[in-house]
Symmetry: C2
Subunit: 455 residues, 2 copies
């Protein structure tokens, strides 16, 4: 973009000529940011919603895009179209590079300035490598649609290359899939890859038996799904093992390379490694000079404001705050949504003339759900724990319910039906150019995009 | 991939230990290649289907992916899964780099060799720039899924950038969309972009009125849809103009740059240019040293074999052959499928002991269909010409019918329903990294992938 798109370019919200209203800037359109905007409906505010992507993602199902079960457009919605009924909301596709707290302006792309009266930071996290950023090319993480299509491409290409490989050891490495980190995402990825190798792919290959694929789930801690009750963890591990996943506990990964991983005293050759272990918050704390924990999460006050700045809220994965049980509020969608709702309520109360300190946020844990594999899930509602097929049905219905709009719900339901009835995963498409991912081990032979003509 | 994946890696088809059967190698899994394989079902042959992509694309609807109406997985199917019921078919993800006709081997990725008894080349075309390959970065064409998501990204980003632009002239350039070439693809793209600007996008933007968007269709020839009867061409042009498309006939484009195009004596500033004009065949003719026309299409014999090589067939867009009316067979899906069927029949006849020359291919034109915009289409069946809403319904039903599988049909039908009832285009996702496309004019601000953390 030209370099002279400047402050004036940034609308201050509202139709021209309207009375100047309280300006709320929300950065990030994940669950927290979107909920804040939605709960501000009807309030006398002009809202600008800034994101560096043009779409909201339903994160809990992102692993299903990575494993070719769902299409990208089934779990992502253009932010603009979500806001079409809200003329007071302006959507901006831009990258926030800082906050000028004295001037009350958000810096966009290092140049433009967007003024605010109230700022809500809901900027999320990115996967992190415990100080080893050099592992990223070998062990991509899963946070964005691009991450998901990249991982999908690697998994599918590994099978394609194995089909053509004659060297047995190299074929074994191609058919070994390592998932690092056994939280919900790691468990769901490992279980789904095992499902795919066992149910979906076998009839499609001629030279390899995809049952031979090894899926190895490596976790530094003592059990999978550490946030769940111990008996559900044990059940999840047994279920994964029954699906053929090798669960390796109590050993931390100490190296990721193009050849594989080293964990504890072991070395495992693999061409596909997926990172589901550490995360690091967005640089929001740095923009503000705010106190943060080791993962970069802002230590907000009980009312979710940044210390010393009652006009700046921070919510979701970008903050750390204690829940009623004293433990940190988990980094999950319902928590971010509750926080967004709380912030919207506080803003409305202040505009309504409420004086004194804002109400403290109180987290209510509604439950934890994780899919392990086809027709297997664990659910912890606190008052009841479920596992197995019934848990899987509840998991599926809950996830379809939380998708946005009838079209996506129908479409996801149809796709899941097809996976279960026909063992077909429709989104098994290898796309994206090689250049786009800097995949060091990618074959020259298997390129799809990038190389233009030929076929 | 390691450099020592070699000839032995290439399966010769069929289970180990089986009697050696006639080996058919089909290169390309478009309509022609796929039809050949499908029509060879039951024949005593081992088939290897080679493609440099892992999916078959339903080309006639690719422009709907480019215009955010459909998702990639709705018009693309993994080739492997299409072949799952055919144990005698081996699928290879590889790029053909040549043919050793003496040894009867196809060269893969410059190294591996794949032997054949009969070879079928169905390698298609790529867009071409009349000797100006330097135009490609500014005016991408539409042949692959990656092309489609790239064009989608450019169109959506142009609106996003226009929303933030204050300089009126620059905003005009961002809101100008040029389509070069008024064949069916050009007409369909121009009409759909106009539809999108008029119906889908207006409620989503705050600072720009998307009705202001100019869609300019430039054609060097005297009319749009030159392959259709003149009255349908005239109707199509009137319909496009009613949708707001500016149709510019009789002027050839002489320059494409980041600033716009020059055509005839005119210059038009635009930030989005789409190329739907020329095509050039894949290098199949060069592999064979076969006679070819100026677009690189092989001049095959009437039985679709390559002169001097009765064991090599070539079909689809990669060849040129005269139809019964003396005019060249058009480069459309039904023609490629008829040729594929003819080749499969010839191979089966030869295996059945038929002596003498093979039967000549005879093209039967079943009709031409093109969508102009929402609820507008033209159809020429020869014996009847249709236009308007009825033609559009037939167009829609025919296209859904020719999709593969119930899931894709359901899914496309649902999406079309949503576009028509709700004016929603669900696939409005800006994905792919900047690096992946080398888009010179892309803003630093609006990047999605590529730039990792931040939001």
């Amino acid at each position: 973009m030209p370099d002279d798109v400047h402050a004036e370019a940034i609308p201050e919200g509202g139709p021209a000529g309207a009375v100047r209203r309280h300006r709320v800037v929300v950065v990030g359109s994940g669950f927290g940011g979107l909920e804040t905007v939605q709960r501000l409906a009807g309030a006398p505010v002009d809202i600008t919603l800034v994101d560096q992507r043009n779409h909201h993602i339903f994160q809990p199902l992102l692993y299903q895009v990575a494993t070719a079960s769902l299409a990208t457009s089934e779990i992502a919605w253009p932010i603009r179209s979500l806001m079409r009924g809200r003329p007071e909301v302006t959507t901006l596709l831009a990258t926030v590079t800082g906050v000028d707290m004295a001037a009350r302006q958000v810096l966009l792309d290092g140049e433009a300035r967007l003024p605010y009266d109230t700022l809500v930071l809901a900027t999320g996290v990115r996967h992190a490598y415990f100080g080893h950023p050099e592992w990223e090319p070998f062990a991509p993480g899963l946070k964005t649609l691009e991450d998901a299509t990249r991982i999908r491409r690697r998994i599918l290409l590994a099978f394609e290359q194995a089909e053509r490989e004659t060297d047995r050891r190299r074929q074994d490495a191609l058919l070994t899939f390592i998932v690092v980190g056994a939280g919900p995402t790691g468990v769901e990825l490992a279980g789904t890859i095992a499902d795919m190798a066992r149910d979906t792919l076998p009839p499609d290959f001629r030279n390899i038996d995809t049952h031979r694929a090894r899926v190895v789930l490596i976790e530094a801690g003592p059990r999978v799904l550490a946030g769940y009750p111990e008996d559900l963890s044990a059940y999840a591990q047994r279920s994964l093992e029954r699906l053929g996943v090798e669960v390796e506990l109590g050993r931390a990964v100490s190296a990721c390379t193009a050849e594989g991983v080293v964990y504890g005293d072991r070395r495992l050759e693999a061409r596909t490694i997926i990172w589901a272990a550490g995360v690091r918050a967005s640089p929001a704390a740095e923009w503000l000079g705010a106190p943060a924990d080791r993962a970069g999460r802002i230590q907000v006050l009980p009312d979710l404001t940044v210390p010393g700045h009652p006009e700046i809220f921070a919510i979701g994965d970008t903050v750390t705050i204690a829940g009623p049980d004293g433990k940190p509020v988990p980094g999950i969608a319902p928590a971010a949504k509750q926080e967004g709702r709380h912030v919207a309520g506080t803003i409305k109360a202040r505009l309504g003339g409420a004086a004194g300190p804002s109400a403290a946020f109180r987290y209510r844990h509604q439950g934890s759900l994780a899919q392990i594999g086809k027709k297997l899930a664990v659910i912890d509602f606190g008052w009841i724990k479920l596992r197995g097929a019934l848990a899987w049905w509840i998991w599926g219905i809950a996830h379809i319910y939380f998708l946005i709009g009838v079209r996506a719900r129908l479409s996801v339901a149809i796709n899941w039906l097809w996976i279960h009835i026909r063992n077909q995963r429709s989104a098994r498409l290898i796309t994206q150019g090689r250049g786009a991912e800097g995949l060091p081990e990618t074959s020259g032979s298997s390129g799809s995009a990038g190389a233009p003509p030929a076929l």
